[in-house]
């Protein structure tokens, strides 16, 4: 049963990656233009530093992609490149490769997104469980309206508000970037502190919004779970409130919450991209923003593909972990 389940999950993952790559390949071609030449020419017409290498680049790309060959040959070559994560050069940052640029940005995003997602999921789930629990202190109910409000705000709007209050009005925290201009990346206390100070606002704007969502979701699930027969029977068993809360209510209510996490990853990521842009945080989102602005087709493709693969992997991990939480799952067909 397990192997079956795993195989199906991996299959879906491969399918998604393939679809993403294919979409990436065909959609730009739908506009009927030669993607490389069009982009390069446009870049050239804007003038500037890339002009000198233009002809060489067009040759380079045409040779590499075989743009004179039939479409299906191009497609096969493309799939081959993509499967090796080979996205060639960035147009706007020639001669740097797309991979180099992405590799530089990824740690920023992974740390920001990883920390905030884990934090907001944990805090939100716990808060939601307590909000539904009759034994929790009464003042906790006061948290409901702010959670509703936060939940309704998009990430980037809260980001702007936080930026206005903490960075502009009170000037407590830096406003832009991943570290102060002029600071040299090094593993010194000073630099780490500087990075943290820059990360607080972007992180906060994600954590606050997401926590509200997780708390409300968990609260709903807890209310349903507390009405289940096994909770009534647990009480008739004379179990302590703590046991009933943790092992019977939270333990079951967290299952749909985990499923929701897998579904929400895409949305969290979309929101985080915008937060990065607002704060000029040097992660993948900001790179993407610049790439779009400068029409850097290959960089856009590289980022989009990388992100989809990363998300697929994250979803896959959640899917594989889920049967450990819910023993019924390996029997169920999806």
């Amino acid at each position: 049963m397990r192997a079956d389940y795993l195989a199906r999950r991996v299959g879906v993952f491969v399918l998604i990656v393939w679809l993403a790559a294919t979409l990436n390949f065909f959609l730009p071609r739908l506009s009927g233009q030669d993607p490389v030449r069009a982009t390069l020419l446009q870049q050239a017409s804007l003038g500037g530093h890339v002009q000198m290498g233009l002809e060489a680049m067009v040759k380079e790309y045409e040779g590499r992609f075989g743009l004179d060959k039939p479409l299906w040959r191009q497609y096969v070559t493309y799939l081959g490149d993509v499967s090796r994560f080979n996205f060639n050069y960035s147009i706007s940052n020639y001669p740097r490769t797309v991979n180099e640029i992405i590799a530089e940005a990824i740690p920023w995003t992974v740390v920001l997104l990883g920390t905030t997602t884990i934090l907001s999921f944990t805090i939100g789930t716990l808060l939601g469980a307590l909000l539904a629990w009759p034994g929790a202190p009464r003042w906790m109910r006061l948290l409901m309206p702010p959670l509703w409000a936060l939940h309704a705000i998009p990430f980037f709007l809260l980001g702007l508000i936080l930026m206005y209050v903490f960075a502009f009005r009170f000037q407590l925290l830096p406003m832009f970037g991943g570290y102060s201009p002029g600071a040299f990346p090094a593993l010194t206390l000073r630099f780490v502190g500087d990075v943290l100070a820059h990360a607080i606002l972007p992180a906060l704007s994600i954590v606050l919004v997401a926590t509200g969502g997780w708390a409300l979701g968990m609260r709903g699930m807890m209310v349903t779970t507390m009405g289940e027969d096994y909770v009534t029977f647990a009480e008739a068993k004379g179990l302590t409130r703590l046991t009933i809360f943790l092992r019977y209510c939270v333990r079951n209510a967290i299952l749909p919450q985990t499923t929701a996490l897998a579904l929400a990853l895409g949305n969290i990521l979309s929101g985080a991209v915008l937060v990065e842009v607002i704060f000029g945080f040097p992660g993948v989102g900001t790179i993407l923003f610049h790439a779009i602005r400068e029409n850097d087709h290959f960089l856009i493709q590289g980022i989009v593909f990388t992100v989809i693969v990363a998300l697929g992997v994250a979803t896959l991990i959640l899917d594989v972990v889920y049967p450990l939480l819910d023993p019924r799952i390996s029997y169920r067909r999806t």
């Binding site: 879906v12 679809l19 096994y230 029977f233 068993k237 004379g238 179990l239 046991t243 333990r251 299952l255």
Partner: protein
């Protein structure tokens, strides 16, 4: 670029465009995108959801597959690919369509799930048998019930579409020539925020965007007096009320009975008679809006109503155990059987090593006729009868004085029912415990209990030894209830009780049974009969006897 002022409440951007004016002009455009995309999304999603769930089969599999995969992919990124490919000369409406291209996924998934759960309802089948066609059933039977849900989905969908469009536009992938809200943000960002020059003057963006200065019935029948002193459990005048806007509903009204050591007492009644409420009230497990309004429940002379919550908790399972209804999912689906027994032991401070606990769990399971391997299983791996045996094993784990079995075999097949009841009888005899069997099956009562109480509309109307109740019932209701049972001996011997079971919130005056009673007379219409001992051991609440 100027700061907010009286003339420009939100300030201006670098080109000197008034941001307030930009927002006034942009809001309708953004709303337009949101509404077009939202409506398109819900429209397409609803259609696919309906078709997928109603017709099922291959079509459903294909639609579901596409939707599942579509939802796994981060929407914004797909929209980026689409928008980048098409972006030159994008209009507001094209923008809306781009957003809509993914907006149908979520509605399709949720509406499909809703329709799927609804099409299993009996009324769809009835409509088909009444001659309705498929599309007609969708429109006339399913749609009306889905309308509120569709409306909610629409609101969500529009707001999601607005956020998605703003997201795209902030990245510069919007209709360049239209001042939608997101494009305004983009121009501000493009021109100011992210230019390197601005890093040194980090105030402008916010100043230009945000407003300056702030973020923004009462007669009591006489209680039956009997030799309750020797009883293990004595319930006296127990009243459970449910508070409703129309006043308190008496789910159990002055219920009084005693339970002797080792005795099997049955409490029988139809739906709404208050039998299950009474079972939960003895364990003090009535949840709001219900409450125990009055009465006492004495266990070995101690009134449980006077105990603290913590003391009461320890009484449960240790002194009074519950066997839940057979139709319930009373076992935690994600915890192994052995742990569900072990946590009961642990919370009652039974000091045992892990090995001892393991041994005890196996003993308990074997004593109810289950194999020891069941300990390591999850509830979904057991059949209905096995689950119920596991519940019995939990109930007897601390050798209680009283076992309350609330319809323990409902939803089980008769063959399995017999096995489960035999198991219950045996463990009871081994423990010397008393049993209260709550149920509606008079046959089961006749075969299992020693004494039987019959409840009607929240009141105990007869308590007699079981042999007597089936030979010479005292209350007309008991007599008619027994007569309504089909026999296997001869045909044509069963006859229903005319009329309807009264609603607790709207009880007739006098005896609650009088509208259905063939022997009712004047007194029954006005005076409520008290539960009185009519002959030694036989109690009834009826004016006739």
């Amino acid at each position: 670029m100027r700061a907010p002022s009286a003339a420009h409440p939100f300030g201006t951007d670098r080109q000197g465009r008034d941001l307030f004016a930009a927002m006034v002009a942009g809001t309708p455009l953004t709303l337009r995108i949101g509404f077009i995309a939202g409506f398109l999304g819900v429209g397409i999603g609803a259609m696919l959801g309906f078709v997928s769930a109603y017709y099922r089969g291959t079509l459903d599999a294909v639609i579901r597959g596409v939707v599942d995969i579509g939802l796994t992919v981060p929407g914004l990124l797909v929209l980026i690919i689409i928008a980048v490919s098409l972006r030159r000369g994008l209009t507001v409406d094209q923008m809306a369509i781009i957003v809509a291209s993914l907006a149908w996924l979520n509605p399709a998934r949720t509406i499909r799930a809703q329709v799927l759960s609804m099409r299993e309802r009996g009324y769809v089948e009835v409509a088909r048998l009444s001659g309705m066609s498929g599309p007609e059933i969708i429109v006339k039977e399913l749609m009306p019930n889905l309308l509120p849900y569709l409306a909610a989905t629409l609101v969500n969908s529009v707001s999601a579409a607005i956020l998605a469009s703003i997201g795209l536009e902030v990245l510069g992938l919007g209709p360049i020539d239209s001042p939608t809200l997101g494009m305004t943000l983009y121009w501000v960002n493009f021109n100011a925020a992210l230019s390197r020059a601005d890093r040194d003057h980090p105030g402008r963006l916010s100043r230009s965007l945000l407003p300056h200065g702030g973020p923004g019935r009462d007669r009591q029948p006489q209680a039956a007096e009997s030799d309750l002193t020797t009883d293990v459990l004595s319930v006296r005048d127990l009243c459970v009320h449910y508070d409703t806007p129309l006043g308190a509903v008496k789910a159990a009204d002055h219920v009084t009975f005693g339970l002797r050591a080792g005795e099997r007492l049955g409490i029988a009644g139809e739906s709404g008679s208050g039998k299950s409420t009474m079972a939960l009230a003895i364990l003090r497990m009535i949840k709001p809006p219900g409450r125990i309004a009055a009465g006492e429940v004495k266990l070995d002379g101690v009134d449980l109503m006077t105990l603290s919550d913590e003391e009461m908790r320890r009484v449960r399972l240790d002194r009074i155990a519950l066997i839940p209804q057979g139709s319930m999912n009373a076992l935690n689906p994600v915890i192994r059987i052995k742990e569900q027994i072990a946590d009961a032991l642990r919370d009652h401070r039974v000091r045992m090593s892990a090995r001892e606990t393991e041994t005890r769990v196996r003993e308990l399971l074997e004593s109810v006729g289950l194999r020891a391997e069941v300990a390591d299983m999850f509830p979904h791996e057991l059949s209905g009868g096995m689950k119920q045996r596991a519940c019995i094993a939990i109930a007897i784990s601390l050798s209680p004085r009283v076992i309350i079995a609330d319809e323990p075999t409902s939803a089980l097949d008769v063959v399995v029912q017999k096995q489960v009841m035999e198991t219950l009888a045996r463990v009871q005899e081994n423990l010397g415990a008393s049993v209260i069997l709550v149920g509606h099956d008079m046959g089961l009562m006749a075969q299992f209990v020693d004494r039987l109480g019959v409840m009607y509309a929240g009141k105990l109307i007869e308590v007699s030894p079981v042999r007597e109740i089936f030979t010479r019932p005292l209350h007309p209701y008991t007599r008619m209830l027994i007569a309504s049972l089909p026999s296997l001996e001869q045909k044509g011997t069963f006859r229903g009780i005319p009329g309807l079971i009264p609603l607790l919130r709207d009880l007739p005056p006098g005896c609650a049974f009088h509208p259905r009673c063939p022997q009712a007379f004047d007194r029954c219409l006005t005076e409520e009969p008290a539960l009185l001992e009519k002959h030694p051991g036989g109690w009834a609440a009826c004016h006739l006897t």
